[in-house]
Subunit: 325 residues, 2 copies
């Protein structure tokens, strides 16, 4: 059935083959304390431990290894930037990354450290896709999109495929999965893998308040944009509107979308620190926040949760730790 979609399970499985021995098989963590809090069973996919600190390496490596370009360009708030930079370096090709000037320092610095050229732009004033296309033309480089591309979606989906396999290995069946959603690439890929491997699973996109475009679009049955000028401290999830390809997948495969507040995300980051000993960035913690804040039924159920990344500046993380909201 999923084969009629722009991305089918075979594409995710092929990506998994390409990523074996290259990506980290990140652990599926458990915490008795978190299970007690939700009166259920949470299985947490720890993508902060992925190469470059987020799942984004998966899609970038998959796309580059299929396309085999001479050079690449990408636009990104930071995690896709680092994923593309490392994937390009591993393929021995040049990468130019277009990043918002106000991206976290750790992401700007991390991208440069991976050998990529960084070009910054203004989030509100500039069109990052246009800048990316211009550089692609200038350099003869291939544009690696952050989410709206079947190869990227298939690569990100390997996180969901691994989650299903790891849960099966410990004899557990997932009732639902929670996956963060910006442009929708990760949740689309995970939904392709999870709905194929786990019959009856409900896969939910989770978004931060103010950027719930996918939740609203799923409800409306068509792509709706976020109001312009919005701000969220979930810097990884600020896409303006669902992707065309990602939404075609998500509209078919997802259950209703869930929305979390900044306070709920901060609490989730603190609980991940305390009980999982993992650093999770704001955008990476929205799925856990949804589980902990009771945005879906957890009692007696087994829920897979993707912790999608951990690239957060020390100052912000310390500020979150010291909070009590």
């Amino acid at each position: 059935m999923t084969e009629e979609l722009p991305v089918g399970f075979t594409a995710v499985a092929a990506a998994a083959d390409r990523l074996r021995e290259v990506a980290v098989l990140t652990p599926l963590l458990e915490s008795p304390a978190l299970n007690e809090l939700v009166e259920g069973h949470l299985l947490l996919k720890a993508e902060p431990l992925q190469r470059t600190g987020s799942f984004k390496f998966r899609g970038a490596y998959n796309a580059i290894s299929v396309l085999q370009p001479r050079a690449v360009v990408a636009y990104s708030s930071g995690n896709h930037a680092q994923g593309v930079a490392l994937a390009a370096r591993l393929h021995g090709i040049r990468a130019t990354i277009v990043m918002p000037a106000d991206a976290p320092w750790t992401k700007l610095d991390g991208t440069r450290a991976l050998g990529a050229e960084v070009v910054t732009y203004d989030r509100d004033r500039d069109d990052r896709e246009a800048i990316g296309r211009a550089i692609a033309e200038r350099d003869g480089a291939v544009l690696i999109r952050p989410y709206d591309d079947p190869l990227i979606i298939a690569g990100q989906g390997t996180a969901g495929l691994e989650m299903a396999e790891q849960a099966a290995r410990i004899g557990v069946s997932l009732d639902a999965a929670l996956v963060c959603c910006g442009g929708g690439g990760l949740v689309a890929g995970c939904a392709v893998a999870l709905t194929h491997l786990v019959p009856g699973i409900a896969v939910h996109a989770v978004e931060p308040e103010g950027f719930e475009d996918t939740s609203r679009s799923l409800a409306a049955g068509r792509r709706l944009a976020n109001p312009a000028g919005g701000r969220s401290f979930c810097d990884a999830l600020l896409a303006p509107i669902p992707g065309e390809i990602t939404f075609a997948v998500n509209a078919r495969l997802l259950a209703i979308g869930l929305v979390v507040t900044e306070a709920e995300v901060r609490a989730a980051m603190r609980l991940a620190f305390r009980h999982l000993k993992i650093v999770v960035e704001p955008g990476g913690a929205v799925a856990l926040a949804a589980a902990l804040a009771g945005k879906l039924a957890t009692r007696g159920r087994t829920i897979g949760v993707v912790l999608s990344g951990g690239n957060v500046d020390a100052g912000l993380f310390g500020n979150v730790l010291s909070g009590t909201d």
Copy 2:
């Protein structure tokens, strides 16, 4: 050869069999950024991801599953406490834990949350072993020592055994290993496993300044105590003198001991946050600190490093993150 020691490789291998399916097979992490800093290859065993947030669960579970007692008592600064509490709960028996009153809140709270009874004592005034023995007598419980016990040493050694196996699986041979040292149980067990599996490896105990009793004892060839009244923020590593059994092993198997300052430990915690996305407590970061501060030759070499635990209060962690020393 190691079979003549109080703990041989077969004891560690037997502990590994008991812990399979029970303990977390913690990942062996790598970071290009950390490798660049040391101009070598660091492989980091992430025990903060172990059950109860430190390696201590390994030894406690091994001891309890062999001894099969009706109840247990233990004295601990916190990590052993939580390890014993969970191991007792998994065996369906009662645990009483004697803890210093000034132990980190996260450790006191974590121990109680695991169902153990907590009895606090004064670090400088009281003799925790005597208190533990009195409770053992009162309840008919078996005392689970924190390090000076062959079953505990063998259990902790499974971290080293896994490290050797995980390194071999990726085709890498370890030149040296760095392991934190309080009473010496973890480093003794790891040394038994690593020297058996990796011929020629140099295993170093790493201690915080002011608590370098094992380093001095190794140099002197006999057990030397720390000066009384010392303080270190590495709360997990404050044993007064090397254990008798641990030192019998360590004197035979270890290379010279290494000592790190508090500033070096803080820097290591920050770099683990930034590049590994792992929460490491002060005592858990001393081995990484030794590698990063150049306490041994790293250039062109492959070094296994045990990150031994992640049970640190949010306030202290935030304070470390905001520092620049």
